[in-house]
């Protein structure tokens, strides 16, 4: 059966072209091989006799594009049509995902069609396939023959019992070949989707086999030569998707996002919860395509352990902008510390998403910062509160300071990586002192983040020494090998 490779993100399915001898199975593959662009196909392998009769099988691997981030690799096989090659046909049918039964439209070939189809059913039954597991498409080939039966008659004789989807084709002229390939590919992918998509599996109503095989519709007597694709209707599931969404989980998932950050509104006026944010999971816990596939996440999407994990429902108040105590540089560097009881949004941290936080509201460019002139950096370190109510002074060190100089020196944290320093007015102070300050701050922060010690002043000498030092060849095993006519004797121990 199908192979689903999460590492390479590809799905490979096996399609077998079945049918009586000389009905055009190999011709189908040859036309496909001729017309598919070179970059999407490999060489076609044909194990045929000298008279171009398929001896074992033909094999054509194709790449038919991507579906939801998975590339679809189709492996097309044909079987030998002759009756006495049944053992080979049975071998090729092993692990099949879909069958295209190529029927000969000629009136005198109908007994061979029946015999071959009976043989197909027997072989599938020997592999213990159920009928709904292996989709079958019937391709009425050789429609241009003068003695070809009309489609109504073919359908009545051949397809009356199960009503498989069917197409018309003139394979040697390339008509209807790709329509058959598209249709069987879509049927197979849909059956895989029905099998593995949780939305389909958890569907309470509707049997899929009935929707996949609609009731027979009367066909007009003379139909134009067009592919008949309406026979296969894809089951629609918009209502089941709506049933599966759980609004309570959605609320829990968005809750920590609102508590993050500075508590202010975004510059655009929208609150953080309304901002579009990247989501690794939909509300049903399904990993969205385009995100890295971690095995642990993929293995545990059972409905009981739905993402996100259950969190205690508490009302956390975001820190207010005005009442927040001044935070030093080191405390505020990677991200502002949440409240101790605040839940951590594990999904976003694990995937390394940008934790977007609104920037602090800057004063208007015309207004000078309160309490000082144009030099916020180099002024004296003592904060000068501009507005300090009398009742807050008695609370001591942790008392929230309304608007101080230090609060303006604080770097603006845009995400977890970069620090945007506030703009320095150029003409305010001599440059060397500003450089000294930035130098130290930068090293403290980067050392904290990478977990390394800040470089000392002796590092420049060490770096020069290490550049000069060359690898000693005599220390390597290759360097010890002796050269000359006795090299085999000397190097024997090494080998």
């Amino acid at each position: 059966m199908a192979s689903i490779n999460y590492a390479a993100r590809e799905i490979s399915v096996k399609i077998v072209y079945y049918g009586p001898g000389l009905s055009g199975k190999t011709t189908n593959l040859q036309i496909i091989h001729r017309k598919i662009p070179q970059e999407h196909k490999s060489d076609m392998v044909s194990l045929a006799t000298e008279t171009d009769r398929t001896l074992f099988f033909d094999f054509l691997p194709l790449d038919l594009g991507t579906i939801k981030g998975f590339s679809t690799k189709f492996q097309l096989y044909t079987v030998p049509g002759q009756v006495y090659y049944n053992a080979t046909r049975k071998l090729v049918l092993r692990g099949v995902d879909g069958v295209v039964f190529v029927a000969d439209s000629a009136a005198d070939k109908m007994p061979e069609n029946f015999e071959s189809f009976k043989n197909l059913e027997d072989n599938l039954a020997e592999y213990h396939y159920k009928r709904e597991e292996v989709p079958i498409l019937i391709q009425y080939n050789k429609r241009d023959l003068p003695n070809a039966l009309p489609i109504d008659e073919l359908q009545r004789q051949f397809n009356n019992k199960y009503n498989f989807p069917w197409t018309e084709a003139v394979a040697n002229k390339g008509i209807g070949v790709f329509d058959s390939l598209k249709l069987i590919g879509k049927i197979v992918i849909d059956s895989l989707n029905k099998k593995y998509s949780r939305l389909s599996r958890g569907a309470p109503t509707g049997s899929p086999s009935k929707t996949a095989a609609p009731s027979p519709a009367p066909q007009p007597a003379q139909r134009p030569m067009q592919p008949q694709q309406q026979q296969y209707q894809q089951p629609q599931q918009p209502q089941q998707q709506q049933q599966y969404q759980q609004p309570q989980q959605q609320q829990q998932y968005q809750q920590p996002q609102q508590q993050r950050g500075f508590g202010g509104s975004m510059p655009g006026g929208a609150s953080p919860s309304q901002a579009p944010k990247p989501q690794a999971f939909s509300h049903s816990g399904i990993l969205q395509p385009g995100f890295p596939a971690h095995g642990q996440q993929l293995r545990s999407p059972s409905p009981d352990a739905a993402y996100p994990p259950a969190e205690p429902q508490q009302q956390h108040h975001a820190p207010q902008e005005e009442g927040r105590p001044p935070v030093s540089l080191q405390q505020s560097f990677p991200a502002p510390k949440p409240q101790p009881s605040a839940p951590v949004n594990e999904g976003q941290q694990q995937y390394g998403f940008v934790n977007f936080e609104p920037l602090p509201v800057e004063p208007a460019p015309g207004t000078p910062p309160a309490g000082s002139g144009n030099a916020p950096f180099m002024s004296s370190g003592t904060p000068v509160p501009t507005v300090m109510p009398a009742d807050q002074k008695s609370e001591g060190e942790n008392a929230p300071v309304a608007q101080t100089e230090k609060a303006e020196q604080k770097p603006r944290v845009s995400n977890g990586q970069t620090v945007l320093y506030p703009q320095k007015p150029k003409a305010a102070q001599p440059r060397t002192q500003i450089d000294e300050r930035d130098y130290s701050v930068y090293h403290i922060d980067s050392a904290q983040q990478s977990g390394q010690q800040p470089p000392s002043s002796n590092d420049s000498n060490d770096a020069e020494e290490s550049d000069i030092r060359m690898p000693n060849k005599m220390n390597t095993p290759q360097g010890k090998q002796q050269k000359g006519f006795l090299s085999k004797f000397f190097n024997r121990e090494e080998q």
């Binding site: 490979s12 662009p37 999407h40 998509s197 420049s460």
Partner: protein, 214 residues
């Protein structure tokens, strides 16, 4: 019959066994192949050889040899060896679903290959067993195509090349008159990255030109 579902851990587990096997036995290629003809994983390099086709043919070869084994009264041949002039193939049956196919040349020999495959066989069997031990109900995969079709299938199926009329000839394109085929629109350039903090420049300059102490 179950589907073959490969997670990245499965591939890693198989490769950690296959890679030392290739190195120690000096193989050109080692492929783990499903009986259906599908590749689980491979290690080594065989130039431009299409491994998917190789796997399909080796699987067919193994399946047909199974019939020969039944004729002579064997349930299954445990190993097969195809000896060539330069390159040889050795196929070893791991379990009822999988076999290992290795390609090697005269850097090594068949006995050495057999010894090392025997050495790694138990680990390979364990890793392969875990591939098929998954529960299909645990898989969640959204493959809803909707109304879209496959991208790489050409659309001009019902109108083959031979049926298109030779006349009238195609209208000359704009390129024939020396004009560019597509208008050149203004495309905004990406914004340059923000300059690093000022202290970084100072630090680099100091590293390059250390002050000389007299």
């Amino acid at each position: 019959m179950k589907d073959m579902i490969l997670f990245p851990e499965d591939i890693d587990r198989l490769n950690t066994v296959l890679a030392p096997l290739v190195t120690k036995a000096k193989l050109l290629l080692a492929v783990l192949i499903n009986r259906d003809g599908r590749v689980l994983t491979h290690q080594g390099n065989l130039g431009q050889v299409d491994i998917v086709s190789l796997a399909a043919l080796v699987a067919g070869n193994t399946a047909s040899t199974l019939a020969i084994a039944n004729l002579v009264g064997e349930a299954e041949f445990e190993a097969m060896y195809h000896q060539g002039k330069d390159k040889n193939i050795y196929i070893d049956s791991l379990d009822e679903n999988t076999f290992l196919s290795v390609v090697f040349d005269d850097q090594t020999n068949i006995d050495r290959v057999k010894v090392f495959i025997r050495q790694f066989e138990r680990q390979l069997k364990e890793a392969v067993h875990l591939v098929y031990a998954k529960d299909e109900d645990q898989i969640d995969l959204d493959l809803d195509m909707g109304n879209s079709s496959f991208q790489h299938i050409p659309q001009e199926d019902s109108q083959p090349q031979s049926r298109q009329p030779a006349y009238p000839p195609q209208q000359p394109s704009a390129n024939d008159f020396g004009y560019p085929q597509q208008a050149q629109y203004y495309q905004p350039q990406p914004t340059p990255p923000a300059t690093p903090p000022f202290g970084q420049y100072v630090q680099n300059k100091r590293r390059q030109h250390p002050p000389k102490v007299e």
